[in-house]
């Protein structure tokens, strides 16, 4: 596998309320889902986002071939050092990830 975003059908991130961000990785097929599930560990997500691994909630949704990661925002939405009001850019880190 090379670049995650080229392998899966869609990756998006968004606020889940002002204090959380959630990332949805739509794998597109069961085969890709199984592969990504194996390779995309919480430790990798932690490294990518600088969020402590113990705070990352991971959901593996087989019926949708979706992996979902939710984690607290490092800067609360709209606080003075927040850079992205809607939390949508963090998805690009996942898209560009080399697994």
């Amino acid at each position: 596998m090379a670049i995650l975003g080229e392998k899966v059908s869609k990756i998006r991130s968004k606020n889940a309320g002002p204090f959380w961000i959630t990332v949805d990785v739509f794998c597109g097929s069961r085969e890709v889902f199984d592969e990504v599930r194996e390779r995309l560990s919480n430790a990798t997500v932690s490294q990518l986002t600088s969020v402590d691994a113990s705070l990352i909630k991971r959901f593996e949704i087989e019926s949708l071939s979706v992996l979902k990661f939710s984690f607290p925002r490092i800067e609360v939405q709209g606080s003075r050092f927040d850079r992205d009001m809607h939390g949508a850019q963090i998805a690009t880190l996942f898209s560009e990830l080399e697994l």
């Binding site: 309320g17 204090f19 959630t22 019926s63 609360v76 606080s79 003075r80 850019q89």
Partner: protein, 430 residues
């Protein structure tokens, strides 16, 4: 309208645009747009002869934005010659209510939550509780044609009627979550409207727009949307559990859903939102086109930041805790900051300087101190001074007060209507 709905529901708010709207108690949306869309809905309501409900009026659902929506409704009633019974549901709480709740142990923190005490609660400019099915149900019970609700959960405007009629409680909440963003659960997310039929066992969701489809995938995937946990959704009084939900296609447009469960909790709790002033901002923007400066921008900006800090402590009585100066390199890492892991070779860079202080005057004074250096600061000590591009004059821009979210807490209530206020009135233009 051919489907003869029993109710028309719309969600009018969110925290997604940030704390400013709740902090100021104002709407993000243009009044003209709201009025134009509300006109369409008021006409549809008159035709269907059913209640029309809007939750979280005017983005933040403060009392002021409920009144703002009420004024729009009255104007339209006159223009459309409608006679209406209108119920307003206010969901704003006072700081006193909250400080009493804090000392009575009725506030519980969600994770993560800001630290709170009487002082921090007192500093909030607006505090709202999110209404659930009980409060919307009480508003429906007033027999209103139109309900203008303050802050409400995204789902409760939809779930309240099926719950009041004794339809399946899990399905009522589940269908409400699926329908909360309208056609987002269909193949044409921008097409607006969705139709949901609730019954004793489940619900059926149907795409309305021409060519739009609802599939088990499009419908179940909406549980992921803006939701930290795709299986569990907390609401006032309990939570929805969709782990055993089943989604079946009836045809291209309709999906049947059964199996979700509602778990009522013994203590009735509502979620709170609040915002307070987090400082006053002045911003500046400079553009760097010189390729040597573009290439070494990170070094340049860290030198500049250090220099500015020293200059401010030299020329003012401010301590570093009184202000923040935040340089964001547009073209380098302005979106992602420290977690950006790519390097590019941009032609030019924007340097966005955000100054935050305890007063607007201080923030703008700091911008005046920094101004010549943002324009001319050199990469090394031994070279001619460069001149970057300021795109406008004055180079600084006063942003006014900025706000911050101040609560991520639950409030326990003895009665679901505690703190919520219903006001019903009638207008006659028919």
């Amino acid at each position: 309208m051919k489907e003869e709905p029993d109710i028309i529901c719309i969600d009018g708010g969110s925290t997604d645009s940030g704390p400013f709207y709740l902090g100021t108690g104002t709407s993000k949306y243009s009044r003209d747009i709201c009025k134009s869309e509300w006109r369409t809905l008021m006409l549809a309501r008159a035709q269907a002869g059913v209640p029309l409900v809007i939750g979280s009026c005017g983005t933040c659902g403060s009392n002021d934005t409920v009144d703002w929506m009420y004024d729009i409704t009255i104007e339209l009633a006159a223009e459309l010659c409608q006679s209406l019974r209108i119920t307003k549901l206010y969901s704003e709480l006072t700081a006193d209510t909250l400080t009493h709740a804090l000392s009575a142990g009725r506030l519980s923190a969600l994770k993560p939550a800001p630290e709170i005490d009487d002082e921090s609660i007192g500093s909030c400019t607006n505090i709202v509780a999110l209404a659930g099915a009980e409060q919307i149900g009480a508003a429906l019970a007033t027999g209103a044609d139109i309900i203008l609700a303050g802050r409400t959960t995204d789902t409760a405007t939809i779930s309240a009627l099926p719950i009041a009629r004794g339809e399946h409680s899990g399905a009522s909440w589940h269908g409400a979550k699926i329908g909360e963003c309208g056609a987002f659960c269909s193949s044409k997310p921008s097409s607006g409207v969705i139709f949901i039929e609730f019954d004793r066992e489940g619900f059926t969701v149907e795409a309305m727009a021409d060519g739009a489809k609802c599939t088990p995938h499009s419908v179940s995937a909406h549980m992921l949307y803006e939701n930290a946990n795709p299986f569990i959704l907390y609401e006032p009084g309990g939570y929805l559990d969709v782990r055993s939900a089943r989604y079946v296609a009836l045809d291209d447009k309709r999906v049947r859903v059964e199996g979700a469960k509602w778990q009522a909790e013994s203590n009735y709790r509502v979620k709170l939102e609040a915002a307070r002033i987090g400082g006053y901002q002045t911003t500046m923007l400079a553009l760097i086109r010189d390729s040597r400066y573009v290439k070494n921008a990170s070094l340049w900006v860290s030198r500049l930041a250090e220099f500015c800090k020293d200059k401010i402590s030299e020329c003012t009585s401010l301590s570093p805790a009184d202000y923040s100066i935040d340089f964001r390199l547009i073209g380098t890492n302005a979106s992602l900051g420290a977690v950006e892991n790519r390097n590019g070779h941009p032609v030019e860079l924007g340097v966005l300087l955000i100054i935050t202080a305890n007063s607007q005057a201080t923030a703008s004074d700091l911008s005046r101190i920094i101004n010549p250096f943002l324009l001319h600061y050199p990469l090394t000590d031994n070279e001619d001074l460069p001149t970057f591009a300021f795109p406008y004059s004055p180079a600084h821009c006063e942003r006014g007060a900025i706000y911050e979210f101040a609560l991520n807490h639950l409030l326990e209530l003895d009665d679901p209507m505690d703190g919520f206020i219903l006001r019903t009135s009638e207008v006659s233009y028919g």
